[in-house]
Amino acid sequence: MKTVFRLTIFLSLFFGTTANCQSKMVSIKGGKYIPLYGRESLQVKISDFYMDVYPVTNQEFLQFVIKNPKWRKSMAKNIFADKNYLVRWKSDTALNSTQSLKAPITNVSWFVAKEYCECQGKRLPTIDEWEYVAMANENIPDARKLKNYNEFILGWYEKPKTFNNEIGSTFKNYWGVYDLHGLVWEWTSDFNSVLISGESRNDVDKDSNLFCGSAALNATDLMNYAAFMRYAFRGSINANYAIKNLGFRCVKDKKG
């Protein structure tokens, strides 16, 4: 009887900590690369960092709003999260019965995603970091030129309602990270820099990004098409948007 009791305490402690806070992370070795949507002369340097293995789940986010009442859906300020914020939840602290605890959290704004990560001593990844890790397939760190890799990504864009699938339901990539492609879109810290400053791609101005020019210019291969989709998506959103197919995960700097 005693052992059972002790075991219960142990288990609840164990699960408590994992659910509450530190979700699993893996180490990403930095390097240089040309972003999908870039050109030869614009190499981007990435430092070493840690990335969450999975996107943040409904369950994890539920713990967060319980602890942080100002982010409950009835409390959140409209300028930080629009009307779709947690729109499918049954109440401030309860999911809808159709929502899986292990599905990625979606319908969250950039502001809340940022704060969630900061609460854990983490931060949102930059576009460059996210894209760097996301170029990997199961076996190699940069699979962008492989046909089946791009087909998988493009295939997902056409698959409806993947937001309710559970985390870990897609492939584990070279770095040990799951679900970068095939589950939900993910927030990045500088998502809107793409269109507004054009900083990372000086050759492409804001307009041609939206219209026909860019597609006609150099989009003859699948690789760019897959990237176009993500950049177009990022360009269409604002920081207070809460979208059904958009979640997030956190990263952490490597010290020293």
Binding site: P160, D207, L210, A215, G235, S236, Y241, A242, N245
Partner: protein, 485 residues
């Protein structure tokens, strides 16, 4: 100032004089009215329709503030029998909802992107004078909506489409439609109006491969279309979905071409367009057989239907029609007019070359026919050769026929039900409606000039292929059917 008034007055007078005396007044009139300065009176919600229908004509209504609300939906649909495709749509249909305005309207346009959608979208209306045709102002994330407004300055029929990167893919998935800007006073009245739009589709599998077919970027870049269709799918305008009219009526078609790649050579078999608004603009050409519609362009045609029957709408780049789906039907009912079209008056055989050469009895060719006891294998071999020469063009290599045009021979209930009827059709031809495997076909098979022996062989080949009932047809059976007439 006074002088100016005088001059204006004179111009006005001249205008009236021209009005009284002739037909060259229109340009004069257009100069006087600046569409940008047309005042709007009142507000109304735009009527939006799915293809092949169009909203009611504007008639003589004044320019208004016109509220248009269009919703973007990413939905799964059927592009051909048993072939699924994920369409991206304006308003749930391909092409998207038809928008009807008049010159001078102030259109308040709200574009909503359904929350279930994965991608951001926007709209570029060719009727808009402004950067991106509205694309920049309408770029909208899933679960959001954007409103912008524009004044319609130029009358005509215009394409709208999504212009979000990658543009080609958004268009290839069905994101296009038409917006009509009618001139002051509206277009001349007609009896029937329809909305048709051509588009080319690129799928991973070949034409006809079943199941959900994803978009194929490579084929799209190479412009190697698997489907070329009217109104988003094979058969959207055939059989029960055919558009209709009555003899004596004038039919107007608003036809667009969404592309993304192919130009349409639009033609209605058995009709001549009385009037064609070339490229959807104000220039009218008369008595046109086939009109060219560029990708991202449109045309307005009208014609009076004089005789009853089924008129086939095609892209006259004809393999697209019969092999890729660009085929529609206009069914006209009413009294026959033999003076305008007689139908068949006399029938005879004339085959100097091509097809199967007719053999007369009493020549040496009769000798091999005497070989009465051909094995099944021999019959199959000879039957296959005859099939490839005579039947293949319509019924296709594996007997699958061509949807909506030529019935299948493979696993055909109609064929297997009655061998004598099948022999009779090869002997005498067949015209009119039949039902094969649950589908109606209304077309013509000419009589085949084959010997009894050849008919026996080719039918044996057909019956012993493609899951048919393995009947072994003998020359005697053919002779019997022939003589029973």
């Amino acid at each position: 100032m006074k002088n100016l008034k005088k001059i204006l007055g004179q111009i006005g007078l001249m205008g009236i004089t021209i009005l009284l005396f002739g037909s060259c007044n229109s340009t004069e009139k257009e100069k006087i009215i600046d569409p940008a300065k047309i005042q709007v009176r009142g507000t109304m919600d735009a009527e939006l329709t799915s293809p092949p229908f169009v909203p009611a004509p504007i008639g003589d209504r004044s320019a208004k503030k016109l509220i248009v609300k269009l919703e973007i939906l990413e939905i799964e649909g059927e592009i051909s029998n048993g072939v699924k495709y994920n369409y991206w749509t304006f308003g749930g249909s391909v092409p998207g909802s038809f928008i009807r305005t008049r010159v001078g309207d102030e259109v308040e346009f709200t574009l909503s992107n359904h929350p279930d959608n994965k991608l951001p979208h926007n709209i570029d209306l060719h009727a808009v004078t402004g950067p991106g045709g509205g694309a920049e102002s309408s770029f909208v994330a899933p679960g959001h909506q954007k409103t912008f407004s524009f004044k319609t300055l130029n009358p005509g029929l215009y394409v709208y489409h999504c212009a979000t990167a990658p543009v080609g893919m958004h268009i290839a998935n069905g994101m296009y439609g038409l917006i009509l800007v009618e001139p002051e006073g509206g277009l001349p009245k007609v009896d029937k109006e329809y909305y048709i739009m051509q588009g080319d589709f690129y799928t991973k599998g070949e034409n006809g491969d079943p199941g959900l077919q994803p978009f194929d970027m490579k084929k799209a870049v190479e412009e190697d279309a698997d489907y070329v269709v009217f109104n988003g799918k094979v058969g959207a305008l055939t059989g029960e979905n055919a558009i209709t009219a009555n003899v004596g009526e004038t039919v107007r078609l608003y036809i667009g071409n969404g592309g993304p790649n192919l130009t349409s050579s639009f033609h209605v078999i058995g009709e001549i367009f009385d009037n064609v608004h070339i490229e959807g603009g104000s220039l009218i050409n008369k008595n046109v057989q086939t009109t060219l519609i560029p990708a991202g362009g449109a045309v307005i045609v009208d014609f009076k239907v004089e005789v009853p029957g089924t008129f086939i709408l095609v892209d006259h780049a004809i393999f697209r029609a019969f092999n890729k789906g660009a085929l529609g039907m206009l069914k006209v009912s009413g009294e026959e007019n033999k003076q305008l079209y007689s139908g068949v008056k006399q029938e005879g055989i004339y085959l100097p070359e091509g097809g199967t050469i007719q053999t007369m009895p009493n020549n040496t060719a009769a000798k091999p026919e005497v070989k009465l006891n051909k094995t099944l294998a021999e019959k199959m071999e000879s039957g296959k050769q005859i099939y490839m020469k005579t039947c293949f063009a319509c019924h296709q290599a594996t007997g699958e026929g061509i949807a909506n045009a030529f019935p299948p021979l493979a696993k055909s209930d109609y064929l297997n039900a009655d061998v004598k009827r099948a022999i009779g059709i090869v002997l005498n031809g067949k015209t009119g409606e039949i039902t094969v495997n649950g589908k109606n076909y209304n077309s013509i098979m000419t009589r085949q000039t084959l010997t009894d022996d050849e008919i026996a062989d080719v039918l044996t080949y057909v019956y012993n292929s493609w899951d048919n009932n393995k009947t072994n047809v003998t020359p005697a059976m053919v002779t019997e059917v022939k003589n029973s007439k």
